[in-house]
Structures are given as structure tokens and as C-alpha cells.
């Protein structure tokens, strides 16, 4: 794992939905070393702790990465004010991404809300062999549907209120899909309750499943041991760390 820290220019900014922003940042070395599922740790002016944000895209040729984040608190509120031409202080790429089999395999990605962006590079890896089940509160909150379609993924949209795609949860759509299909792997990112249900469904169908976890984080590199999550490994439950051991874990190991 190789990471670096520095100031990098924001190339472009878009507003994808209410309070959700999309930045493209020029950082060639980080872009060249990124794998799907990794994250960057972003310094917020006036704040002590950096904010971990998943990487939604990377282009080694253009030397860019893409991050998509939602305003959740003071830190992301400040990051929301960034604009093209501003410099952003990034430490990354951090963590281990999804362990992806060869692209000829079939993968289902399951994303909920702001958990959707890190799954885009996974869908791009599998192209037409990917199925994306993406869930949002409503049509207004939906993001990246076109990007997943462009990646070649068969895309199933779900909303809580039925204003876009199916009405209901991604987990219902996943169960429905698995009645007729048997993918080689599932990759998920979203709220913990969603991940837990996805893990149960995957286990019932004996499909290997990886989930990306979040936890309050300080150093981002594995030194401070702040971002602990309980993981069952080698026959015992232990506290591993989202930043260094994760953020992606096999769901069968996670003590939900």
C-alpha cells in the first residue's frame, strides 16, 4: 500500500443532487495507485480531523480522481464550498479496496445513498457482467444512474418513496434478482442496516460478499487505532481498523 499527502487542484465540481457534490481532482500519483474501494483522507480548513471520503473514480492517464460526498456535518459543509481551481489537501489512496475476481465473472453491486459512489469503479471493472442495485430516498436524491449504465452495468433503481425505479429497499431487489441469477460475488456499500441484510442474503445464497464499512476515524493510516470495527477472524472476535484493515471486509467476518 503506497500513499502520499499533498495539495492538489480541483479540476471540476458538480452538484449531483441536493447537498451532494462531485469533485474531480488532479493528483496523478494517487490516481495511478488507486484500486476500487479505497478512500482519501481530506483535510478540512479549521478542523483537526481529516474526513475520509471514498474514491468514486480514478483515471491514471488523465491523472485524476473523483470524489462524491454529501453534506453531513461541519466538515463536509466546508468541503461543499470548494470550487474548480481551489487546492485540496489529500492523504491517500488509503485502505484496501474490494478484492475483485477477473472481469469475466458476474458481480452484483448493492449501494445505498451516499454508499453508491465507491461501487462505480467496481461496476466499471466488470462492465456488462455487473448488475447495479442502487437505492435512494427519492428520485431527487438519486445519483450516478447514468454512470453505472455507461459502465455497462445492468442497473436496477430503488427508491423509498417509489418516485424512481422500484418502490422499496435494495435488499428486496437483491432477493428478487437472486431468484433467477447466481452471481459470483456481491460488493456492497451503504448504511449498516442495509449491509447487514445484504450479508444475510449473500450468506443464504452462499455468494461471497464484501462490504465497505465506516467508523469515526483519526489518522487514516493505521497508527492511532481509532476506527475500530469488530471482526471475526481466525476463530475469534477482534477489533480491526477501517482505515488499514478495511474499509472493505468480507461480510461473513463482520460482527454486525
Amino acid at each position: 500500500m503506497s500513499y502520499q499527502q499533498g495539495q492538489f487542484p480541483v479540476i471540476s465540481k458538480a452538484n449531483l443532487a441536493k447537498n451532494i457534490f462531485d469533485l474531480t481532482i488532479l493528483c496523478p500519483e494517487i490516481a495511478a495507485n488507486t484500486k476500487p474501494g479505497q478512500f482519501v483522507h481530506i483535510r478540512v480548513p479549521g478542523h483537526i480531523l481529516r474526513r475520509p471520503i471514498s474514491i468514486a473514480g480514478f483515471d491514471a492517464i488523465k491523472g485524476t480522481i473523483r470524489i462524491i460526498y454529501e453534506i453531513r456535518g461541519e466538515g463536509t459543509q466546508i468541503l461543499a464550498d470548494l470550487k474548480a481551481g481551489d487546492m485540496i489537501d489529500i492523504l491517500g489512496p488509503l485502505g484496501n479496496g474490494y478484492i475483485l475476481p477477473e472481469r469475466e465473472r458476474r458481480c452484483v453491486v448493492v449501494g445505498g445513498g451516499i454508499g453508491v459512489p465507491p461501487l462505480l469503479p467496481v461496476a466499471e471493472h466488470f462492465g456488462a457482467n455487473a448488475t447495479a442495485i442502487l437505492g435512494f430516498r427519492s428520485a431527487q436524491a438519486a445519483i450516478l444512474e447514468k454512470d453505472f449504465e455507461k459502465a455497462g452495468a445492468k442497473t436496477i433503481l430503488c427508491t423509498d418513496d417509489g418516485t424512481l425505479g422500484q418502490k422499496g429497499f435494495v435488499t428486496n431487489a437483491l432477493e428478487q434478482l437472486l431468484l433467477s441469477e447466481c452471481p459470483d460475488c456481491i460488493c456492497a456499500c451503504g448504511p449498516l442496516v442495509m449491509l447487514k441484510k445484504v450479508a444475510e442474503i449473500a450468506a443464504a445464497h452462499s455468494i461471497p460478499c464484501q462490504v465497505s464499512l465506516e467508523e469515526r476515524m483519526a489518522c487514516g493510516v493505521g497508527a492511532c487505532l481509532g476506527c475500530a470495527v469488530q471482526i471475526r477472524r481466525e476463530g475469534k472476535e477482534q477489533y480491526l481498523h477501517v482505515c488499514k484493515d478495511g474499509p472493505v471486509f468480507y461480510s461473513e467476518e463482520v460482527v454486525f
Partner: protein, 303 residues
């Protein structure tokens, strides 16, 4: 170029800047960014006799210009450190400070006996961790228990012994004098201040441990005050820490009486903070025409 070397308890440091225990692990994560040989020393992650799981998450909360942590001394145990981490660290051309945080006096004695004869340069006896139920700050909040554990550990080791003090006490100078009288070669301060945050929507504390140790720039003035008080109360060297995030902060802490400084939370904001602080101290001394960093220690002129 100003002379940055300092000496504490007979141990020479190439410069006075040391990443603080708990902020730097065993060094691996930051060696990917800069050579550890740039650092004056490293105070490694606080260790216990046996491996320790630490506290349930969440363990981290941000505060205005600071943070809380309740990691709870998660560590692989002293044997793992001596076998797996120390041989690697010993070749890095920096001083290694072993932070020892046993839950009983006997554990601490056993640990320092294991360390005896190793490549460790100095022991930092942690009697001030606020995040564990046994040991930790329980030792550091009364003069009797602080003196008792210091005396026991002193008898068990020939390594230079530094005792890390808790700020969560009525009079830190009394604790400092108590450990000095029982043979401590130096004191380091301050450990974190006990704090708490509550999520007003869930009415739950942000930390699963309810309370945690506060660090970061917000605690810096308290740390400067305590270092100044302790440096005026004891004859042994003081290593100052608590919210240092710039070279100016480090210089201020040294003027208050610290012979060296430790840097903790600032590393989370900027992983290069220790290196930038070293370079900044050097530039400042050159700019002021001061030959040695030792010449600024304790030079504050109180009103």
C-alpha cells in the same frame, strides 16, 4: 545551522521532537512518508503486559480545535513489541521510548524487566491513561500511588525512566515531585484531559466509552501552564506535550521549561507535522541567532 541536540536523563536526542505515544503506532505508517531517522525519538504505542483489545467503537470524536479518543490501550502486548517491532525500529537511527501502561504495579515491573537489556533507549511509564478501568490514571492521580509505582519500577530497571503525568489532578506539581523523589529521571506531560461529547439527537455520548481523553490545539495553553509549573517544581527534565501543532508551539513549550516536546494529534491533521516542527525550530533559531535549542529551555520571563 543551530544545534538541535538535547539530552534527557542521559539519553542524547538529535532533535527535541518526538511523536507522542498513541499517535504514531510503531512508526510503520509514517515511514511511508518520511524516514524515521529525521525524528528525535519515537514514543511507541502504549503497551500492556498482555495483548489488549481496547474499547468498543466509536472511539473518536472531534471537538472545537481538538479531539477525544477512547482507544483504551489496544496493543499487541510487550512480548510482541520486543520480538516483532523493536528489532525493526532499533535500526532506524532514532531514539525508542517504550510507553509502559500496566494495569497493576506487578505488570509494570514485569514489563520493564523484559525491556531490560533490549534496544529500548528510555521507558515512559504511563500512569495517566484516562481510558482504562484498571491502572492508567488510577496510578497517576494520587501522590502515594504515583510514588509507589515509580519506586517499584525504578528498582526493576536500569533504563532511563520517564513518568508520564495526568493533567486530571488538583496539583500536578505534587505528583511530579512524588515521582521525582522515587527516582524518576524525567517526567512527560500532559496526557489527555478527560472529556465528553453528547449527540443531542440520540442523547447518547459520541464515544461508546462515554468519556475519553481530549487532545489537540485546544489543550495547548493548559499544557504550557502545567509544564511551566512542573519545570519550576522539579530538578529533573520535563518533556512537554499537549496540543503542539507548529514550531512556534514547540518553542513556546520549551520556553515554559520543556527540554523536548512530543507531538500527537497534530499528526492526524498533518502527518508531516513532526518534520515540519523540527525544520521550523531550526529556522527560528537561525533567524534569532541562537546557537543551540538548549538555550531556549525554561527561558520564559514571568511577570
Amino acid at each position: 545551522m543551530a544545534d538541535l541536540r538535547v539530552e534527557i536523563a542521559g539519553v542524547s536526542f538529535k532533535n527535541p521532537v518526538i511523536p507522542a505515544s498513541g499517535a504514531f503506532g510503531f512508526g510503520h505508517e509514517y515511514e511511508k512518508l518520511y524516514p524515521l531517522s529525521k525524528l528525535g525519538g519515537i514514543s511507541v504505542k502504549g503497551m500492556t503486559l498482555n495483548q489488549k483489545d481496547g474499547n468498543p467503537p466509536p472511539r473518536i470524536a472531534e471537538t472545537p480545535m481538538g479531539m477525544l479518543n477512547s482507544v483504551g490501550l489496544q496493543n499487541p502486548g510487550i512480548d510482541y513489541f520486543l520480538e516483532k517491532e523493536l528489532p525493526y525500529l532499533a535500526g532506524k537511527e532514532t531514539r525508542i521510548i517504550a510507553n509502559v501502561a500496566g494495569s497493576t504495579v506487578e505488570d509494570c515491573v514485569t514489563m520493564v524487566k523484559k525491556i531490560e537489556g533490549s534496544a529500548v533507549d528510555m521507558i515512559e511509564l504511563n500512569i495517566s491513561c484516562p481510558n482504562v478501568k484498571q491502572g492508567g490514571a488510577a496510578f497517576g492521580t494520587s501522590c502515594e500511588s504515583a510514588a509507589g509505582i515509580t519506586a517499584a519500577v525504578r528498582k526493576a530497571t536500569t533504563k532511563p525512566l520517564m513518568v508520564k503525568l495526568s493533567p486530571n489532578v488538583t496539583d500536578i506539581t505534587a505528583i511530579a515531585k512524588a515521582v521525582e523523589s522515587e527516582g524518576a529521571d524525567a517526567v512527560s506531560l500532559i496526557n489527555t484531559l478527560l472529556g465528553m461529547r453528547i449527540d443531542i439527537n440520540s442523547r447518547r455520548p459520541v464515544l461508546k466509552n462515554n468519556v475519553g481523553g481530549m487532545s489537540g490545539p485546544a489543550v495547548f495553553p493548559i499544557a504550557v501552564r502545567m509544564v511551566w509549573q512542573v519545570a519550576n517544581a522539579v530538578q529533573i527534565p520535563v518533556v512537554g506535550m499537549g496540543g503542539i501543532s507548529s514550531a512556534e508551539d514547540a518553542i513556546e513549550m520549551m520556553m515554559a521549561g520543556a527540554s523536548a516536546v512530543q507531538v500527537g494529534a497534530a499528526i492526524f491533521t498533518d502527518p508531516y507535522a513532526p518534520v515540519k516542527i523540527i525544520d521550523g525550530i531550526s529556522s527560528w533559531l537561525d533567524c534569532k541567532g541562537i546557537a543551540s535549542v538548549k538555550d531556549i529551555v525554561g527561558t520564559v520571563q514571568p511577570w
